[in-house]
Structures are given as structure tokens and as C-alpha cells.
């Protein structure tokens, strides 16, 4: 009987300890969402989330990937007042979503937690600001570079081009010697997300799409296709120029850091090099960047801020760029080796995005396809683009 009573007393004591321990550690669950850029990225982010949870035991992160049309899925969730607490925001949509009031301004959190924003590259951070209000921190970025099949370049005994004229010259040599069998020397997307870099290289800008500089850049870009020196991916049996490079249907493409893991996993045998983006009157490039932002409708803002600031802080970002899948958006985080030609483009890079992006981008790309296929003139396209972006 005494033994039974002693056992019961021990069990009661243990239960009391467990109960008090549970009462002391109340966890908050927050949601984190983004699109998938590949299995490697999804796995890496989950590992980083696990690391965060290990160092912040009171916060549990429910990470999910939104497949399919991310913009539409998020728009529907905003309208339902049920967005994730922390989520990706592409630079192209940052000002639209900030203006529509779906993003939480972060200035008060920055001030109260003394968060140091000075380490972010200013051009990238400014993409997520409206006036002086910060709506997100860039988690990474990439400009465009020029990637060239080194074997094909060697066959024409040429160096990597540095200017528009040299690009054209190298492509002409490749055509003359039929170096790119069944393809074209250059793969160019019918996409302003590539052509706009050429506009900046000619001294043009998004602010006036009907200037001579813009017209000249578009004529050069489209002219490469019309002169048989370049082709769009669909005519190279490819869904994008990265596939065209991998399949050796193109020798020269213009893509960002995202090309490297793709080539490594999908076309490991294709020999290529990463070279600086070409120039014309000046250097010109685009900065593709994505932020972590907080939802205005988040019900767990303090915990969401803790996660957001950690992910974009030095420690979180160091983990994120450690596998070379992305470039750091902070000056106190180093990229892995072999990324110099991307990083050096920072001084010429303009943030990707503009007014009325969703509507304007569709019009601009459809018009560009029409120009390339012959259904519209460059002047007509630029007039449509100017109206779509600026409403004039």
C-alpha cells in the first residue's frame, strides 16, 4: 500500500512539472508563403525555417509553397482577409500592393527593434519603399549577365562581346560558319524583362518610352531577330533561353543567376561561361528582386516581424545564399564564388517594375511579340506601352 501511494505521489509530481512547463512555453504559429523556384530552393528554405524555429522556440512557422499563379492566389487571399503572415513580394508588384494597402508598413517595427537597414543595397531597398515607408526587405536579387557557350565562341575565334556592335559581329561570324546547328547564335525573349536592359544601355528609361533612345534600343533588339542573328525561345524548341543554351540551340543568352542551378541540374554537360552584360552608350541592367513582406491583415505581427527581420538579417541571408541559388541583397553577406559578373552589374541595375505593372506588362509583351512577328510597328508598340504605363 505504501509503495502504491509513493508511486502515485511521484506520478502526480511529474504531471505537475509537465503542466507548469507547458503553461510557461506558449508558442505562436505564423504562416510563411512564397512561390517555388525549384526543389532545391524549397528544401533550402525549409531548412532555414527549421533553424529559425530552433533559435526561436516560441514561434512555429508554417511554410507553404503557392503553386501556379502566385499573384492571383495572393490577390484572392488579400480580398478574403486571409493572407499569409509573411510572404514573397516581387519588385514588380511592390508599389501596387503597397498602394492598395495589403502590405504592412514596417517603419515602426524598424524603429522599435533598432533594425539596421543600412546594409541593404539602396537601389534594392528603395524598390520596396513608397516615399519613406518601407514595405519589405529584399531577400536576394539578380541582374542579367551574358552567358555564352564557350565551345561555340571558340569555334569563331572570338572574345566575348562587350558592346552591341561586337555582339552583332560575333553573331554574324557564328551564322557564317554555321556554328549553331539547327539554332541561332542569340536567344532573345519577346519580353520587356530582357529588352528593358537594352533600353537602359542606350540611355533610355521607362519614364519616356517614346524617346529616340528607346526606339533605337528596340530596333536593335528586334533587328537581331529580323536579321537572322537571334530567335525567340519558342522557335528554338525551348520554353526559355536557358533551355535553348542547354540544348545548344543558342550560343548567347541574357539571363540571371537563376540560370546557374538550372544548367547544373538539367544540362550539366553544356560548357558555358558567364560574362558581363554588354553595353552601348552606357551600362544598363535590371535588378530582379523579391522581398519578404508582412500582411496588413496578419494576426501575429510581432512574431511575423521577428521572422521577417531574421530571414533578411545577416544570419538568415547568409544561409539563404550559401548554396549559390541567389545573390545577397546586403553588403555584409558575401556571395559564393563565381558570381562576380552578376555582382559587378549592381551599379548599372535598375529595379524591375513600373506603374500599372500587371496591365502594362501584358500589353507591352503582347505588342513586342506582334512587332517581332510583323503585326505591329515599333512606334505603335511604344505608343501603347507609354499609355499603358503612364496613362497618357
Amino acid at each position: 500500500m505504501r509503495k502504491v501511494l509513493a508511486l502515485l505521489a511521484v506520478l502526480a509530481a511529474v504531471a505537475a512539472v509537465v503542466a507548469s512547463a507547458q503553461a510557461g512555453t506558449k508558442t505562436t504559429t505564423i504562416s510563411l508563403a512564397g512561390w517555388s523556384a525549384g526543389a532545391d530552393e524549397d528544401t533550402l528554405l525549409q531548412q532555414i525555417v527549421n533553424k529559425f524555429e530552433a533559435t526561436h522556440p516560441s514561434i512555429k512557422v508554417d511554410y507553404s509553397v503557392i503553386n501556379g499563379d502566385y499573384t492571383s492566389a495572393m490577390t484572392a487571399r488579400f480580398a478574403a482577409h486571409n493572407p499569409p503572415d509573411v510572404f514573397y513580394v516581387d519588385s514588380s508588384l511592390a508599389s501596387t500592393w503597397a498602394t492598395q494597402g495589403v502590405l504592412q508598413p514596417l517603419n515602426s517595427y524598424i524603429k522599435s527593434s533598432h533594425y539596421n537597414t543600412s546594409k541593404f543595397f539602396p537601389s534594392l531597398l528603395n524598390t520596396f519603399k513608397v516615399g519613406s515607408t518601407v514595405y519589405g526587405f529584399p531577400k536576394d536579387w539578380s541582374p542579367l549577365a551574358m552567358e555564352i557557350n564557350t565551345g561555340m565562341l571558340g569555334e569563331v575565334h572570338a572574345k566575348a562581346p562587350k558592346t552591341w556592335a561586337e555582339l552583332r559581329s560575333v553573331a554574324q561570324k557564328m551564322v557564317a560558319q554555321n556554328v549553331v546547328s539547327g539554332g541561332k547564335p542569340i536567344c532573345l525573349s519577346a519580353d520587356w524583362a530582357r529588352m528593358l536592359a537594352f533600353v537602359y544601355q542606350d540611355g533610355g528609361s521607362i519614364s519616356n518610352l517614346q524617346s529616340p533612345a528607346v526606339s533605337n534600343a528596340v530596333n536593335f533588339y528586334v533587328g537581331l531577330i529580323k536579321d537572322g542573328l537571334a530567335q525567340t525561345p519558342d522557335n528554338l524548341d525551348s520554353d526559355w533561353c536557358g533551355t535553348a543554351l542547354g540544348k545548344q540551340k543558342a550560343a548567347i543568352i541574357f539571363e540571371g543567376n537563376w540560370l546557374l542551378p538550372f544548367m547544373s541540374s538539367t544540362y550539366p554537360k553544356t560548357q558555358y561561361g558567364v560574362f558581363p552584360m554588354i553595353k552601348n552608350k552606357t551600362g544598363g541592367n535590371l535588378a530582379f528582386t523579391v522581398s519578404y513582406s508582412m500582411a496588413k491583415d496578419s494576426k501575429n505581427k510581432p512574431a511575423a516581424w521577428t521572422l521577417l527581420s531574421w530571414l533578411t538579417g545577416q544570419q538568415g541571408q547568409k544561409l539563404w545564399v550559401s548554396k549559390g541559388l541567389a545573390l545577397p541583397s546586403r553588403s555584409d553577406v558575401k556571395a559564393i564564388g563565381g558570381r562576380a559578373n552578376f555582382l559587378n552589374a549592381a551599379k548599372y541595375a535598375h529595379g524591375w517594375g513600373f506603374k500599372n505593372f500587371s496591365t502594362a506588362y501584358t500589353i507591352m509583351n503582347n505588342d513586342l511579340t506582334a512587332v517581332i512577328k510583323g503585326g505591329k510597328t515599333v512606334a505603335q508598340m511604344l505608343s501603347d506601352a507609354q499609355s499603358a504605363v503612364h496613362g497618357s
Partner: protein, 308 residues
């Protein structure tokens, strides 16, 4: 003893009982349809009414701006948008192309499987299979097959990317959808063929009518109810084209607006990042009215004397 009067041999109390029986019978009927009608109301009538309501406002992600008034500005904006005009042109081209092709293919298949052929049951299932396969999966496979280096070009020659060429993009979707829906059309025509009395064919045989003439002068006209049904059902479905246009163009409606459809216009306007729900609702309402008018027109032309 209750007072009763008699009229026409039926007492008032008996008439009352009869009326009560009818009420009870009707009541059971209404009770059985109450649930589906409630579902219809919640998922069709209410959203339709709400869409018309928000179409009168500059309705964004979180509703209209404070103090905004109802008006027809959204309707004016949609009706004067050249992209909407292009979308209407595209969908009319698509519908005029796909519906006759579906009818021709479906009727041909129905005639084949209605005949006394070996393995008829197998062929009926085989011809119907594309209709039940996932349209997303079929479209994705078609993108590869119709790419510049795809199987189709290897057979017919050439190097054209069919879905990426403005002049062939929508017609490629016509071909794809005519193939996938022919099986369903076949089912409707098969049922209609089997309802034609055999004595008309016997009479035609006695007269020595040829096979084609029998089909053209007897079978085809007698299938009029089926023609009307297929035109309305599949024509309405064609006008609402979305998934193939979205998949082949990546949601952009390209190349060069060639696959931009009215439903894609509504989708992009509402969910394309700007969240212009009011504008999207106006476009949807305009399209709803247009389809309704077209359906009525079909009813009073091809469907003269028919009922669905």
C-alpha cells in the same frame, strides 16, 4: 354532422380534401428541390447579383474607396478597351471554328459506333476517353507535340511553333478542343440516332436510296433536336474558353493577343495583381448578357420548335 354542399357531384369537403392532397403533393416536390435550389441560389444567383452590384463601383481588393458612387464607368471602360474587342473577336472566331468541327467529328464517330461493327463497345469507350482526361494534362502534352521541334512538325514537316505563332495559336486550340470534346458530342448524337425509328430507313431502302442520300435527306434532318442541343451546349462552352488559352499563353493571352479570351480578360483584370474587381465584374456581366442574347438567337433559329 358538418354542413356540406354538393357541386358537380363532388362535395365541398371532398373538394377540400382533394385540394389539400394537391398541396401536400406539391409540398413534397418543393421540399425535394429546396436543397438544390438553395445551392443554386447560393452559388449562382447570389454571386451573379453581387457581381452586378460591384460592377457599378470602382471596387478594389478591399472594396470601393470611401464615398464612391454607383455608376456605369466600368462598363464604359470595358466596352472602349481595344483588348476586350480583341478578346471578343478571338472567341467568336474560336466558336465559329470549333462548334461545327465538334459536330462533324462527333456525328461521324456516332455513325461509326452506331453501325454493327466488331468491338463496338471498345470503340465507344475509346472515342469517349479524351473527353474525360484532364484538359490541363492534354494541353500540356499538346504544347510539346506542337512545339517547333515537336512530333506534329516531324510528321507534317516545317518548324512552326503552333501555339506561339499568332496566326495559328487559336486554331491550334480549335483543333485540340474539337478532338477532346468529340467524344462527348458523339454520345449525344448516338442517343439521338438510336431514337430514330427504323421504318424510315426501311422505306428508304425500298425506294433504293443511296447511303449518302439517306444520311443527308433523312438522318441529318431528323437529328435537328440534337443539333440544337449540341450548338447551345457546346457553343456556350466554347464562348467560355479559358483553361487552354491560359496554359498555352502562360496567362498572358499571347502571342500578340491571339489567345486573349473574354474570360481570360475577366481573370486578368480581377486577379492579375491590380485587383480591379469592379472592372472585372463589369466585363463578366457584359459577357453574360452577350451569351444570353446569342443563346436566345440560337433558340429562335436553329431551335425553332425544339425544347431543351
Amino acid at each position: 354532422m358538418a354542413a356540406t354542399a354538393t357541386t358537380g357531384g363532388v362535395t365541398r369537403s371532398a373538394r377540400g380534401t382533394l385540394f389539400g392532397a394537391r398541396i401536400r403533393e406539391a409540398g413534397w416536390g418543393y421540399a425535394f428541390v429546396a436543397v438544390p435550389m438553395a445551392v443554386f441560389g447560393v452559388f449562382f444567383v447570389y454571386p451573379l447579383g453581387y457581381a452586378i452590384y460591384i460592377s457599378l463601383y470602382n471596387w478594389g481588393i478591399f472594396g470601393p474607396p470611401a464615398g464612391s458612387k454607383a455608376g456605369f464607368g466600368n462598363y464604359h471602360q470595358v466596352l472602349s478597351d481595344p483588348i476586350f474587342h480583341t478578346a471578343i473577336k478571338n472567341i467568336l472566331e474560336y466558336t465559329v471554328g470549333v462548334v461545327p468541327l465538334e459536330m462533324a467529328l462527333g456525328l461521324s464517330l456516332a455513325l461509326i459506333v452506331n453501325a454493327k461493327i466488331r468491338a463496338r463497345t471498345f470503340f465507344r469507350a475509346a472515342f469517349y476517353f479524351p473527353s474525360i482526361a484532364s484538359s490541363v494534362a492534354i494541353t500540356t502534352i499538346a504544347i510539346y507535340m506542337l512545339s517547333s521541334d515537336g512530333l506534329f512538325n516531324r510528321v507534317v514537316g516545317g518548324h512552326r511553333p503552333w501555339f506561339s505563332t499568332p496566326s495559328t495559336a487559336i486554331w491550334s486550340i480549335v483543333g485540340l478542343n474539337a478532338w477532346t470534346t468529340a467524344g462527348t458530342v458523339m454520345i449525344f448524337y448516338l442517343a439521338a440516332l438510336q431514337s430514330i425509328p427504323t421504318d424510315v430507313y426501311e422505306a428508304a431502302a425500298v425506294d433504293g436510296t443511296s447511303g449518302f442520300r439517306t444520311f443527308w435527306k433523312i438522318t441529318f434532318p431528323l437529328l435537328r433536336p440534337a443539333h440544337f442541343f449540341v450548338i447551345v451546349l457546346f457553343g456556350t462552352g466554347a464562348l467560355k474558353l479559358f483553361d487552354q488559352a491560359f496554359i498555352v499563353s502562360g496567362g498572358s493571352g499571347g502571342p500578340a493577343y491571339a489567345t486573349y479570351t473574354p474570360v481570360l480578360y475577366v481573370y486578368r483584370t480581377g486577379l492579375g495583381g491590380n485587383g480591379q474587381f469592379g472592372l472585372a465584374a463589369a466585363a463578366g456581366t457584359i459577357f453574360f448578357v452577350a451569351i444570353f442574347i446569342l443563346t436566345l438567337g440560337t433558340r429562335f433559329t436553329v431551335g425553332r420548335g425544339q425544347s431543351l
